[in-house]
Amino acid sequence: MSERMSNAIDVRNAVKRYGDFTALKRISLTIKDNEFFTLLGPSGCGKTTLLRMIAGFEDVTEGEILLYGDEIEKLPPHQRPVNTVFQNYALFPHMTILENVAFGLEMRGKSKSEARTRAGEMLELVQLSQFAARKPSQLSGGQQQRVALARALAPQPKVLLLDEPLSALDLKLRKAMQLELKHLQRETGITFIFVTHDQEEALTMSDRIAVMSAGEMQQLGSPTEIYEQPRNMFVADFIGETNLLEVSVDQVMNGRAVCHLGGGHALTCNSVEGIGVGSKVHMSVRPERLFTTDVPVEGEALKGRVVENIFVGTDISTIVDLAEGPQFIVRTSNSERGNKRIFEPGSEIFVNMELGAGRLLVD
């Protein structure tokens, strides 16, 4: 029981069907108490559906949802002790900012004056006290966003659900809000479930991430795990930039695999469970774990020719045509330009992998 209680949310075999269309295909996951949990995936992957099922806006076709051990999937939204920050904020236009924030408190039976006092404190927390008497339309997008946050946090929900709350903000504001959200989560100790399609946002903020696609969970793990040890093609491709090579597996041992490219060039890389000798799979390697040289540094270096160098602020991306394979992207941080060489387009070079950088993927 005590172990069960420590889970904020337990989703068990949750299925969502709309007529013939299955939006969620039997998802099970556990979200821990006091966790910043992110549901990440492209649009239409079912992440928002799952969030709305937890909030109570969508029925659960099959399965169970538990909130700190209590089944909630049959309760109407107003009886669930969770609050939502909506993508379009959904602030009540005819109410002042203070009235907006006080609404949930009043509905929970707080007296009007008590609700307002608490709402005032919440506005202080998001630094909007001076706007308490204004209407939502008189505030900027970023300010409205913070009001929505204050309104959802005011009734002290057991879990806070955030449905792509930053997607309407410009880049700079978004970055600032990412940090603010993270701090708020630490300060309040409330479990956050955050939905986004922005992998960078997910990596920055989350304790754990569930990567979803086509109604299924592809991988669940910490940001580092998701980035460095993607389980399959989808995750490797969706999170960050990656280079993919088609390889045949010759030997698997202790989590390492020896494979060869179509032309016979041998490569050693990390393997994952479920890959057998003789199978044809993809190997993924992140661009920042590659470097170019004019002579091969190690025996497995891939021969190629520089197509183009692209300056992207902090890095330089070098596009290389591999002699035996597709195009590769090699990323060199500008801070490393002293000890790594950038070759002119047309140069014949070798692409070297850092030790353990290559990783096999299941399809």
């Binding site: 909030a55 107003h78 009540f92 609404f103 509905m107 959802a152 009734p155």
Partner: protein, 309 residues
């Protein structure tokens, strides 16, 4: 024009404004000829002396207004008392129109809400269904209403047939029949503005309210209603105003006892017994009353809109 605008000359703006004024001319002409001129004529007529077989004598007089408000006996030589006949008719009109408006609201609101919450592609179909009865002339619709409601009509037959009642309910020639008639005549004017308002309503606000622990009816009262209030007010005005001056439904369904202001005015202009200045005066009084009610509504409306913006 675009180049001129880009150069930012105020002359361009002026030409633009001038052109716009000319383009508005037809609208102003129509309004002037068909709205302003008749009202002015009425105003003038109401202060003239009556001709016995209809028409007016061009001699200024307050007799029409005097007749509306005061009773000076058969020969006009007794001390003036307040004349209650017309004030009663007036009051009844307000009351009847108010009741019809309320009835339209009670039926029209759920209807509009229902249509606006259907999937987007079937909504036009539902709106279309609402308009179908209005392809038939108002007079015919009102007469058929009378047939439906009369003592031996289908409604009473049905109710007796089901055993709910033993003898027919008398509906025709009651206030209620008039209210039903008015309600039936003007229902779409209630449904359509509310439909438009509900359609514009952002339903994620209802979700947000539910998320913040508001039960359904609290959400309706505190979130949905304030948001669609302008539509509701517009609907009420559009039903109330024509109901007030209506004469078909009161004549056909109400009978002589349930006379409304519209019938009174109609009578003054049709037939030999007509009294044009009196009809004009009654019209002016009606107009003034409606304007006052509209102003009250309009102030409510602007309050609601300020709150909504």
């Amino acid at each position: 024009m675009a180049a001129g605008a880009a150069s930012g000359g105020s002359a361009t703006t002026d030409t633009y404004k001038e052109a716009r004024n000319w383009l508005l001319l037809p609208s102003w002409a129509v309004l002037g000829i068909f709205v302003l001129a008749p009202v002015c004529m009425m105003l003038v007529y109401s202060f003239l002396t009556k001709e016995f077989r209809g028409g007016v004598i061009w001699e200024p007089s307050l007799a029409a207004y005097d007749q509306f408000f005061f009773d000076r006996g058969l020969f006009g030589d007794e001390p003036a008392k307040i004349e209650w006949t017309y004030i009663t008719i007036f009051w009844r009109s307000i009351w009847q129109a108010g009741a019809a408006t309320l009835l339209s609201l009670v039926i029209g609101f759920p209807t509009a809400y229902f249509i606006a919450t259907r999937p987007e592609r079937v909504r036009p179909f539902w709106v279309f269904l609402i308009t179908i009865p209005y392809w038939v002339n108002l007079l015919i619709r009102t007469v058929s209403m009378k047939f439906l409601l009369r003592d031996q009509g289908p409604l009473n037959d049905f109710l007796i047939g089901t055993g709910l009642i033993d003898s027919p309910i008398h509906i025709v020639n009651t206030n209620f029949a008039v209210q039903l008639g008015l309600f039936y005549s003007y229902l779409p004017f209630m449904v359509l503005p509310i439909y438009a308002a509900v359609e514009r309503y952002n339903f994620s606000l209802s979700e947000a309210a539910a998320d913040l622990y508001a039960p359904k009816w609290v959400t309706l009262r505190r979130i949905v209603l304030p948001a669609i209030k302008p539509g509701v007010i517009a609907g009420c005005i559009l039903v109330f105003v024509p109901s007030m001056g209506s004469f078909l439904a009161p004549d056909l369904l109400g009978g002589a006892k349930n006379f409304m202001i519209g019938s009174l005015i109609e009578e003054q202009f049709k037939g030999n017994a007509g009294n044009w200045p009196f009809g004009a005066a009654a019209s002016m009084i009606l107009l003034t009353m409606v304007l006052i009610i509209l102003l009250i509504f309009a102030r409510q409306q602007s309050k609601a809109e300020n709150a909504g913006s």
